[in-house]
């Protein structure tokens, strides 16, 4: 019975695992050691593990619990990597520091707490001897904070055929961070503008690539955004702009380039986005030649139905454990679901602890200095993981 498994949830184990993981530096591109740790922990819990070397020194780790009877396949997934250390940490980012209910450390919330709860779930199920139908698996992937190569690599394995994924990202599915029923896609425009050099005192003899590039940037609000019934419109954000002399010299700049992030709603693709930018540029009648390209990372948008089986399993569990209804949203924040659901067409549930409060001076939120997780969330998350697995697989 699932209640046996729930009773075997060991909250002290969760905290211990979380603290151990914080101590392991797994800044993006250095996931190897944490991958080893998770592999060892899963094996200690009696699971057979598989390693997939995505890039040299950077493996994904997988493990399965095969149930007794055939059935659906559910994967609990998380990314091994954290963002790099930013300036301003008051404590050592790799030493877990407890202040009241806050456990401070790099990746504490994003997303080692999620992994700790996944391990706790597996341990509880193993300890209780409770058998799930179908297959319950765990996936730990690299590179979510950079180019999503870990998730892409997982789609090349047999885990590409699972029926749903639970992403243990910090999504408490409340007002602070609702459960995404869909996420925007994203492309990164790379626009290069080619003008013509001339002496800067005679600008009329040249074509100023910086000025022409600036005209494009100043007119980005002419981009056409599809109005999606759920998402409404996407958005754009210029991330970088460079052009002009390296060593001081009064010369009309012959080239310039800029990058623009664009979030896409379902119905918009990289191709439509490029065509849109080209149309905008053409309408400006610039003297420069302009190349519109994109550069990685690139992500697909997706939507899921509100009555998707994983949601139907999740919703009552959330109400039961949290005592309130979950909040849903069409979201603007890229996660590995853009790969799993957007490309892989696997329905994804995002569920994890709440994020730390982001103080303008002290940080505390994800991707910020002094990142922390409120440990009172962990027992609730562990219980929800166990119950969602049961609800999805044993139905």
């Amino acid at each position: 019975m699932i209640e046996d498994a729930v009773k075997r949830i060991d909250d002290a184990y969760t905290l211990r695992k979380l603290e151990e993981m914080i101590r392991i530096n797994s800044v993006v591109r250095s996931e190897g050691e944490l991958a080893e740790y998770i592999k060892a922990e899963l094996e200690a819990l009696g699971l057979k593990t598989e390693t997939q070397l995505v890039e040299p020194g950077r493996p994904n780790v997988y493990a399965r619990l095969k149930g007794g009877k055939p059935g659906k396949r559910l994967n609990y997934n998380g990314h091994l990597d954290t963002v790099p250390v930013v300036e301003g940490w008051e404590t050592d980012p790799f030493t877990p520091v407890r202040r009241g209910d806050h456990l401070i450390g790099l990746g504490s919330c994003d997303m080692k707490a999620g992994f700790a709860s996944i391990l706790t779930m597996v341990k509880a199920i193993q300890d209780s001897g409770h058998k799930m139908k179908g297959e319950l698996s765990v996936g730990a992937v690299i590179d979510e904070e950079a180019y999503g190569e870990g998730a892409k690599a997982m789609l090349k394995t047999d885990f590409a055929k699972v029926d749903a994924i639970v992403l243990a990202e910090p999504y408490p599915c409340d007002e602070s961070k609702p459960m995404p029923l869909g996420i925007t896609g994203k492309i990164l425009y790379e626009v290069t503008v080619h003008g013509k050099a001339a002496h800067g005192f005679r600008p009329q003899h040249g074509v100023n690539a910086v000025e022409d590039a600036a005209k494009i940037v100043a007119n980005l609000d002419e981009l056409r955004f599809l109005d999606h019934p759920d998402f409404h419109v996407g958005n754009y954000c210029t991330l970088k702009f460079e052009g002009g002399y390296q060593i001081y010299s009064v010369v009309v700049p012959a080239s310039a380039r800029f990058e623009v992030n664009r979030l896409l709603v379902p119905g918009e693709t990289a191709a439509t986005a490029i065509a849109d930018m080209e149309r905008l540029v053409k309408g400006l009648n610039l003297k420069s030649t302009v190349e519109v390209k994109t550069k990685p990372p690139q992500y697909e948008a997706y939507v899921m139905a509100k009555d998707d089986p994983i949601i139907k399993a999740f919703d009552p569990v959330y109400r039961d454990v949290m005592g309130k209804a979950p909040v849903y949203q069409y979201a603007y924040g890229i996660t590995d679901a853009n790969t799993f659901a957007g490309v892989g067409k696997i329905p994804c549930l995002h569920l994890g602890p709440a994020r730390g409060f982001s103080d303008p001076k002290k940080g505390g939120g994800t991707h910020e200095k002094n990142e922390y997780v409120d440990v009172t969330w962990l027992p609730k998350v562990s219980r929800m993981y166990v119950k969602v697995a049961d609800a999805f697989l044993n139905n």
Partner: protein
């Protein structure tokens, strides 16, 4: 008219082979901007030999100006022949060694051959003729070799702080031929380099509305530069602008709304426009854009003042006559946009300047050369100008 025979005496002392020899020697002394020292010492030694009173002025450590003077018989005006010792750096593509004078027909190739060692060679020729001939003149004839013209004009600025900052007129040996299309300037535009800092607000790039994008607002400023207000000058028309540089955004890839951006815009100023006016003009433009960012409008060196001279200036009249005699044609005048040391000497120092030098080819480019058959006529014009002005 009575002085004609004396001028002949001066003119007889001009030595075209000497001029070419000096030019070749100077080309073989690399003096890329910041490395003028060796050439300064060469010129001092040469002028010492010619009998001038010389001195060095350390403008910056290891970078001296060199001065030389010859006092005339009686009281009179003070005329200075000025030239910058520095050249631009070597660019890619030279077919010969830039520091070896190479003759190809009428052309002498070498870095600085026309800009402006050719002019200095003609000046040395004239100075030698003056010293050698014992020609009686009034006032003072001097030479100034200055550093840094190709960068920030520090040499000319330092000259203004010396006694040579009070001469009555200056002749600059830049390669200006006073031919049609290359008139000798009666005025030059000034220049200011705007250095504009835009401060926005960082936020996650997926939620751009939560931030203020400094790069996008910098783009708006650049796109609206045509709204700058240029004053109209009857001689120059109006100034112009050219964006030279922009930088803003992430150093390591990260989807963040850029919080800062910086742009540089060159602006040429006509007489009547000062740097202060230019800064106010830019601030007015930016204010009208109602941006969300805070914007600081600064300027960065080099900064040059514009100037205008009247054709009735004594040195201009003297030049006009000297040019006609030396070249057998009337000189062309113009109002130019090319910054020279005159922006400092005339624009700041108030000393009228004439630009005259041998005909150039490939200035600031690979395979730079000077037309050798211009050297004798330029030397002759220099002699006539000095003799007439200091009579």
């Amino acid at each position: 008219m009575q002085r004609q025979p004396m001028y002949e005496d001066l003119l007889k002392k001009l030595d075209d082979r000497y001029a070419v020899k000096k030019l070749e020697e100077m080309i073989a002394i690399p003096s890329v901007v910041k490395e003028e020292k060796e050439l300064a010492h060469y010129l001092k030694a040469e002028l010492d030999t010619l009998g001038y009173k010389t001195e060095l002025q350390d403008v910056e450590p290891g970078r001296p100006n060199v001065y030389a003077k010859l006092k005339g018989k009686g009281k009179g005006k003070r005329l200075n022949f000025c030239g910058h010792m520095d050249t631009v750096p070597v660019v890619v593509g030279w077919e010969t060694d830039p520091f070896k004078p190479v003759k190809k027909g009428n052309r002498l190739h070498g870095l600085g051959s026309n800009d402006m060692k050719g002019g200095i060679a003609c000046t040395l020729n004239m100075l030698r003729a003056f010293a050698d001939s014992g020609h009686a003149f009034n006032g003072e004839l001097s030479f100034a070799g200055v550093i840094d013209e190709e960068a920030f004009g520090e040499g000319a600025k330092a000259m203004l702080k010396t006694e040579y900052g009070k001469v009555d007129a200056v002749v600059l040996g830049e390669p200006t031929t006073a031919e049609a299309g290359h008139g000798t300037p009666l005025g030059i535009t000034g220049k200011v380099l705007y250095d504009i800092y835009i401060h926005g607000k960082a936020a996650h790039g997926f939620d751009p509305g939560a931030g203020i994008n400094a790069v996008e607002e910098a783009g708006i400023i650049l796109a609206n530069l045509p709204s700058l207000e240029f004053k109209k000058n009857p001689n120059f028309g109006q100034g112009n602008y050219s964006a030279l540089k922009i930088e803003g955004g992430y150093t390591v890839y990260s989807v963040v709304v850029p919080a800062t951006c910086r742009i540089e815009v060159n602006r040429l100023l006509v007489p009547g426009e000062t740097a202060e006016y230019a800064v106010e003009d830019m601030e007015r433009l930016i204010k009208g854009l109602k941006l969300k960012s805070t914007v600081e409008v600064k300027t960065k060196p080099p900064l040059y003042a514009s100037y205008e001279m009247k054709k009735t200036e004594t040195i201009v009249k003297v030049f006009d006559e000297a040019y006609r005699k030396a070249f057998g044609a009337a000189p062309e005048y113009g109002y130019n946009k090319s910054i020279t040391d005159a922006n400092t000497i005339t624009g700041e120092g108030g000393i009228p300047c004439i630009h005259l030098g041998p005909k150039p080819g490939g200035t600031h480019q690979k395979n730079e050369y000077v037309e050798l058959d211009w050297l004798p006529r330029v030397s002759k014009a220099y002699v006539l100008m000095a003799a007439m002005y200091l009579s």
